[in-house]
Amino acid sequence: MLINVPETVVADALRGMAAAHPELTVDVENRVVVRRDAPVAGKVGLVSGGGSGHEPLHAGFVGPGMLSAACPGEAFTSPVPDQMVRAAAAVDSGAGVLFIVKNYTGDVLNFDMAVELAEDEGLQVARVLVDDDVAVSDSTFTAGRRGTGATLFVEKIAGALADEGAPLERVEAVARRVNESSRSFGVALGAVTTPAKGSPTFDLPPGELELGIGIHGEPGRERRPMMTSGEIADIAVHAVLEDLRPDGPVLVLVNGMGATPLLELYGFGAEVHRVLSERGVAVARTLVGNYVTSLDMAGCSVTLCQVDEEMLRLWDAPVQTSALRWGR
């Protein structure tokens, strides 16, 4: 690993972000990354956060048209309420703040505590959960579906609406709508090495893969012998479509987990398109890249989001963050 010591990994990265991105205010000590021009008058503030190790999520999505602030926790560990309250205070212009929370026990508990504390401080805060991973059944026997790739869609689309000056209820509503319209499925071709552990979190021999993985190095639901990119696309897209039955065009995120070369990811994207066209699903837009990662995991995930006209307009709206930029 390219680190100094495990204990300073997050602080070191934040120092690096501060050095590279003058357009961000990076509070290294308190671990909050805020767009420099926050609070923007009249604009709802968007705050997200979660364990580190998923970069560019979330700090790479802070900027005009997307998040107002991000709170990075330790690697794979939810941030603490103090960070979230501080971020909320920094971005609140009086129009209120939306917390975008990936559905993990840790994130939910910490953000819930932050909501209480922020409200105690007089802030108006709403919270939306992202839970798009179809590999986990959403039942009382689990912590519910994990939040994965759809987070990018939620942050981008809600961020665009907030930039238009929409009120908190509408920003919250569109965030919820994006989440409800999105599903993901992930596959690992190799395990993760976390700074804390220093060796792979599970043992995955070269000739095997894990289906239905999350973004925290947890093993998946099933281990199988290695397959072709086309076979993996079949499994992933079918798993998503079993749950999301789109009757209109979709956004497609072909996401790398961190160590899968872009060359392979684009090839996988071609297979995802093939399966979608076989299934008669129209594609509105496709994004290919390492966006919601799991440190150095080799693998990929597919996220589909069925979009209406408003969502597509908001997706296409200008965005200026370090990891996602277009328009204007």
């Binding site: 941030p79 026997f141 993760v192």
Partner: protein, 205 residues
Amino acid sequence: MLDTDFFRRWMAATAAAVDREASRLTELDAAIGDADHGSNMQRGFTAVTAALERESPATPGAVLTLAGRQLISTVGGASGPLYGTLLRRTGKALGDEPEVTDGRFADALEAGVEAVAQLGGAKAGDKTMLDALLPAVGALRSSAGAARDAALAGALATVPLQARKGRASYLGERSIGHQDPGATSAALLVAALVEAAGTSGGGDA
């Protein structure tokens, strides 16, 4: 009677145990979670130790509420709010007396454990820290040693369980056959009570 110093010794003994066992806790978490439980607990109890030294709280209740607040502010993850709530609620239930009886402490811990159950929504058998904490609370009525044994037994008994809460639940049946990291750290916390009681309160004290 348990005085303020007893609770400071409890936190100190827990911090030492967590330091000692950190990599094992992380290993357990790697198998069915995300490989951070050891470092999470270590970060939290390092902060607890520092805060107790800095602020010298004067009552048993103040020791635990301060410790709980530290955990909430420094751990993150699932364990931060849960352990933080456990200690804060236990501390609050102790009130601000300078000394408390064993029975009063057992009641307070029970309130703390109930708060954990409420916050996390888990029940006995869900393969979480509660599987060590719940039996410990019962046994603490007889002695700290009994609580320690019950917590350890509870932690070991998580091995054949299928997880229904937290990250491990994502694995479904693949979570079976592994010991829950949070139940394991909870057993360390309870065992530290015996150490805190020292030679005087040791053994079955």
